[in-house]
């Protein structure tokens, strides 16, 4: 029994791989989440976040690799793992014709809570997410944010050691998103709960999470505290727009031209927008202007700001997290879609 308690690493994945019909959705993921930590898997849609979570909560069998949750192997001790986790899926999975209390009652039974504890326990978790006064309302009358909170409270029924939240704020308005995060933080603090979430909202990852792993195409590209990742990137970010009248340079030509100028680190070019990292923005600006103009290019606008997680994301994946959603026909998207289809077929 001390096994679970003394472990610092509550979740640990070692070389975790998942393939669907020959497509690799998760490729040798190594990560660990410490007790009481709020850890986020950050990546675009189809990056492998949900697949990783599903392996950790014993819903999918890893193709290879190993994972321990609360000290138990997800493959050989699935039952023990299931006893110690709460799961809040990405899609809303509630019975709208049932009341909140009835929705929870079913899962209290499935988690095997003692009969006498079911009612007080339901009240307790509903109180935590501030829904106790509406427990006898049909879920059909709930707002999106309330449904999400209800689902989180359902994940708390078994008094889990780890709570898995898959895109907890997906589809919610900004205000509801904030409320949901407040509850998540409260849980983390009051219950000393380890929370593993996924998100593709960079601002949330930056603001809410203790540690994040940037995952793209099934691979973890970077992992660490948001502040550390940002510092790694550089102290300041310079963004500038090259005048469109100057030359007919393609993006690649422009990039190589700018790279030769040695303006700063992690330079990226998108259309005519250039982004790069410098140790000190204020002193770097005149120098950058000077160097660009020396090769016959004009600067339309230029600005300095502190780095965001978005900059880190671009550094590791070569593109913005939201740009990816717009990319309709890229090979990546096709591959991701094929993978999602394969997953849907598998899912029962």
């Amino acid at each position: 029994m001390e096994v679970g308690q003394n472990l610092v690493k509550t979740v640990e994945a070692i070389d975790l791989v998942k393939q669907f019909d020959g497509l690799t959705a998760v490729d040798k993921v190594n990560m660990s989440v410490e007790k009481g930590e709020l850890f986020g898997l950050l990546g675009p849609n189809g990056a492998g976040k949900t697949t990783t979570i599903k392996m950790l909560i014993t819903l999918l069998k890893p193709t290879s690799g190993k994972a321990l949750v609360a000290g138990f192997d997800v493959l050989t001790e699935a039952d023990e793992v299931r006893r110690r986790i709460g799961y809040v899926p990405q899609e809303s999975a509630l019975d709208v014709r049932l009341t909140a209390a009835e929705n929870l009652e079913l899962f209290a039974e499935l988690y095997g809570l003692p009969k006498s504890e079911i009612k007080p326990r339901i009240n307790e978790v509903l109180e935590l997410v501030d829904l106790d006064k509406r427990k006898n309302d049909l879920v059909a009358h709930y707002s999106g944010g309330m449904k999400r909170r209800l689902e989180i409270s359902r994940g708390l029924l078994p008094t889990p050691q780890v709570l898995f939240l898959d895109e907890p704020t997906l589809g919610l308005d900004p205000q509801s998103r904030r409320v949901v995060w407040e509850f998540i933080h409260k849980l983390q603090k009051d219950w000393d709960l380890t929370i593993l979430t996924t998100t593709h909202y960079l601002d949330e990852a930056e603001r809410e999470m203790d540690r994040v792993a940037i995952i793209d195409k099934g691979t973890i590209m970077a992992m660490g505290r948001p502040e550390d990742l940002k510092t790694e990137f550089g102290k300041d970010v310079v963004e500038l727009v090259i005048k469109s009248t100057d030359g007919g340079d393609s993006g690649e030509q422009l990039k190589s031209k700018l790279l030769s100028l040695e303006l700063g680190t992690d330079l990226s070019v998108s259309d005519r927008k250039v982004r790069l990292g410098v140790p000190n923005g204020k002193t770097a600006l005149p120098l950058i202007m000077h160097r660009i103009e020396s090769v016959g290019l004009g600067v339309e606008s230029i600005s300095v700001r502190s780095p965001s997680l978005d900059d880190v994301f671009i550094k590791y994946t070569g593109r913005g997290i939201r740009e990816d959603e717009g990319a309709q026909d890229s090979e990546d998207t096709k591959k991701q879609r094929a993978m999602m289809m394969a997953r849907m077929r598998r899912r029962v």
Binding site: T58, L60, P89, L98, L110
Partner: protein
């Protein structure tokens, strides 16, 4: 309790079902509509068939016959004494469905030879009908014969005969004595009721058992169920039991409706038990099929696939059309259809009040069908739930 998960899933399904008013109302309305509309629409009796009559005979028997035709509730005489060509035109226009011609020598054919005439084809009652309307056409011929028979039994015909011949009228009758074996006043709706009950069982089991599973699968609810430390077989059993409960409830609705509508039924506790045994077995059978399909089928295809099963199973079972009316090649399908045996058995226990012993072959056939599909359905769902996922360890293996 070992089956806590099963009963929790069952409870959930029941709550969802109870609160789905559209589904509840339609499940009540469908059997009522079927019984009332089909049961009465084709009851074997007709009324107000539009016809025209032309009477060329002025003697009493012809008058009595015409009168009887006009008084018949089955007929509605819209024209009399019109020419044959006008009558044909009226049939063509759809104004009448039949034309009855009473020939000149109609009455005289009743008399013995010195007074009368020999019966020749031209002196018979002549019925011309719209034979594109098959059922009405057949009915008209039967009706005319029936009215003619009544006419011959009329006192006026007998006194006319005596007046002309000074002989007593003795009708030489050659008819079949028909004795109803069961309660009199037995109508088509009574014949239909067991079939409607089983049709409801069929529709409910196909729809209400698999549909929640398909929905749960598509919205990812199963992931939630499977992330809990519950045995997969307990979940499967919960869904199956919920499906069967819905079937039994549905059968009860139809029974109550049938009683309210005054349908002939054997209502002893024992016959009720037999009714439930047969209905439940058939329900179990199709619940199994429904669950097996729900593992693979997509939401948008449900109606189509269910229709593919419902339609032949219902219409090729003798529930609606008698098996005897089908061509031989189709009868093979009928004899392989479990619904056939359920209908046959149910008709016997429900209407005739037969003991279940007399329908044992029916019960065995439906029972074997239920057993096989239940194995299929539960296995399919169990494998789908645990197949590619991590299997839960058995309780006894859990230590500490």
């Amino acid at each position: 309790m070992v089956l806590r998960a099963t009963s929790a899933i069952w409870k959930r399904e029941m709550r969802k079902w109870r609160r789905n008013r559209t589904q509840l109302i339609s499940s009540l309305l469908l059997p009522i509509l079927f019984l009332l509309v089909i049961g009465n629409a084709y009851s074997g009796t007709f009324s107000d068939i539009p016809v025209a009559i032309t009477n060329l005979d002025s003697e009493t028997p012809a008058q009595v016959f015409q009168e009887a035709l006009q008084n018949s509730t089955s007929l509605s005489v819209v024209a009399t004494n019109i020419s044959i060509s006008d009558a044909m035109a009226m049939i063509d226009d759809g104004k009448i469905l039949g034309f009855i011609l009473i020939p000149v020598n109609f009455s005289k054919t009743l008399l013995p030879l010195p007074w009368g005439v020999t019966v020749s084809p031209s002196t018979r009652i002549n019925v011309t009908d719209d034979n594109t309307n098959l059922m009405v056409s057949q009915a008209l011929e039967g009706l005319t014969a029936q009215v003619l028979n009544e006419t011959l039994h009329d006192n006026r015909v007998a006194s006319w005969f005596t007046d002309v011949t000074h002989l007593p009228f003795r009708l030489s009758e050659l008819s079949i004595g028909k004795v109803d074996r069961y309660a009199t006043g037995f109508t088509f709706i009574d014949f239909l009721a067991p079939g409607i009950l089983l049709m409801t069982v069929l529709f409910t089991s196909l729809f209400a058992a698999g549909m929640p599973i398909i929905l749960d699968r598509e919205v990812g609810y199963f992931d939630m169920l499977l992330s809990t430390p519950t045995r997969r077989s307990d979940i499967v059993l919960g869904f199956t039991l919920a499906g069967v409960t819905k079937v039994i409830a549905q059968a009860t609705f139809v029974l109550v409706i049938a009683i309210v509508l005054g349908i002939h039924m054997a209502l002893t506790p024992l016959s009720l038990l037999y009714i439930y045994v047969l209905a439940t077995l058939l329900g179990l059978g199709f619940v199994g099929i429904s669950i097996a399909m729900s593992v693979k089928i997509e939401l948008t295809a449900v109606q189509f696939v269910n229709g593919l099963i419902n339609f032949p199973v219902f219409f090729l079972s003798g529930a609606f059309y008698p098996v005897e009316s089908l061509p031989t090649w189709l009868r093979t399908v009928v004899y392989l259809n479990p619904m056939t045996y359920a209908v046959d058995g149910l008709r016997a226990v429900m209407i005739k009040g037969a003991s279940i012993l007399t329908v044992i072959p029916d019960v065995v056939f439906v029972g074997v069908f239920a057993l096989l599909t239940q194995i299929l359905g539960n296995l399919a769902l169990y494998l789908a739930l645990s197949g590619r996922q991590i299997r839960i360890r058995h309780r006894s293996q859990r230590t500490k």
